[in-house]
Symmetry: D2
Subunit: 150 residues, 4 copies
Amino acid sequence: MDNNLTQKRIDFLAKDYCRGYIKYCGLQALKIKKGSFESQVLIGENHRTQDNFIHAGLMATMADHTAGYSAFTMVSENYRILTIEFKINFLKPAYGSALKCRSKVINKGKQIIVSESKVYDVRNKSEKLVAKGIVTMMVVPVENIAKTKF
Amino acid sequence: MDNNLTQKRIDFLAKDYCRGYIKYCGLQALKIKKGSFESQVLIGENHRTQDNFIHAGLMATMADHTAGYSAFTMVSENYRILTIEFKINFLKPAYGSALKCRSKVINKGKQIIVSESKVYDVRNKSEKLVAKGIVTMMVVPVENIAKTKF
Amino acid sequence: MDNNLTQKRIDFLAKDYCRGYIKYCGLQALKIKKGSFESQVLIGENHRTQDNFIHAGLMATMADHTAGYSAFTMVSENYRILTIEFKINFLKPAYGSALKCRSKVINKGKQIIVSESKVYDVRNKSEKLVAKGIVTMMVVPVENIAKTKF
Amino acid sequence: MDNNLTQKRIDFLAKDYCRGYIKYCGLQALKIKKGSFESQVLIGENHRTQDNFIHAGLMATMADHTAGYSAFTMVSENYRILTIEFKINFLKPAYGSALKCRSKVINKGKQIIVSESKVYDVRNKSEKLVAKGIVTMMVVPVENIAKTKF
């Protein structure tokens, strides 16, 4: 197995990461390697709860989507990744100026990929682990996605 | 235990449900009873994935937040609800014109409340169960939330 | 789809349910229908914790295995069921004379089946819901199981 | 905070780990440090499935119980640990001669402790990661356990 992604593939993944709902939520790709993916969101007023924390839903979205793209680095362009399920623990309240998420593949089967996501709250210059997720995904041939859709 | 919420409490919960990130994501409260909460989001282009499905992150946010408010119906105004963790299974792809989420409390302890959330994809007039979540929450006295925060 | 199992298939599933580790733990099949499975264990000293509760591990084993057989009722004899992952919430302490578990399929895809398991603590004549699990499983052709194994 | 356990506490935890259902299942404590716990089970015929794998329920029991004792290393003798919920992913089939489980605390709050458990299949001299769990636990004063029980 080739352990490197081509620059073309990295550029594609970085751009593809940030579309639709993810773009709306302000998430961006940061670092991409085979088997791992790092993302970031700069926190604005739209990301907060009624109690002024960063919303758990944003952290969950980030944990899921970044895990999805860590899995996406493991397959060729003929495949897509669908999340079957995920679980996330919120360890500490988040209230910083940005979130970072680091996801890595912990098991790659032929049909199932499992990744873990760590979400960090960026406070001044320090990072604090605030959430940890585990995500189970399915590898789907691109032609089946099209069929499933409508 | 009184099994009814006052109209004042219902109005408060409906309004409080929809603030910050949740407002930004377009979620709205629909029906509120002691122990259950129903919400809705009308789907726009900003809610979709790169493959044109409704994003799993939106469903997860809805499952978490609506579960949180189902728990919130069980406590007095001196308490807040914090999500400790949740898990969500995505059962079918969602691509309809709206999502509905129905959450209900399945266990209320003194400190821990567990709720389940069902997310339905609204396609024309029919509803299809597309995701199911289970959410573990902590009951926190409001003065401790303030302390935790900053 | 035929919604009934043959008596032969029911007898096979009841017997097959209770082998190896499951037999050692004392679990037995109770009621079997297409899409659902009920099991029981009579509690003895070997099922308890250091604090005299029924051990969470026994409840988890029951939730997983019974969910597995609820999924097994949905496929033909050429397939096996493997658990990909599960999550279980412990709602109340269990200390009764028996546990019952009722599992039902909540989604059947071609490759993935999701079931829920409710575990009840039997105290005198009443039953109390003490744990709830959700189990994600894969449908595997029997010849692939053999290959995977050794 | 003192980062070392006394030898007396280590001896207590090793012995206490292996009682009731856990003893019946053959689990044993291996290595104990503040914040981490390692356990082992030698696999016999009673641990297998109908398809001759090691049963997922045994791995789940080990992941839960060992996580519980990793949390138990973090509190004084006036407290007990109760599992609120756990989630476990089965990454590969297990069929070796023993399982090892390594659990470590990833977050310690005042009331909630979260630990991760890795389960390894021992095949000849090598170890293979076969399951990964995350466990949410509550810290309970010992006098409340007694009250809860009967």
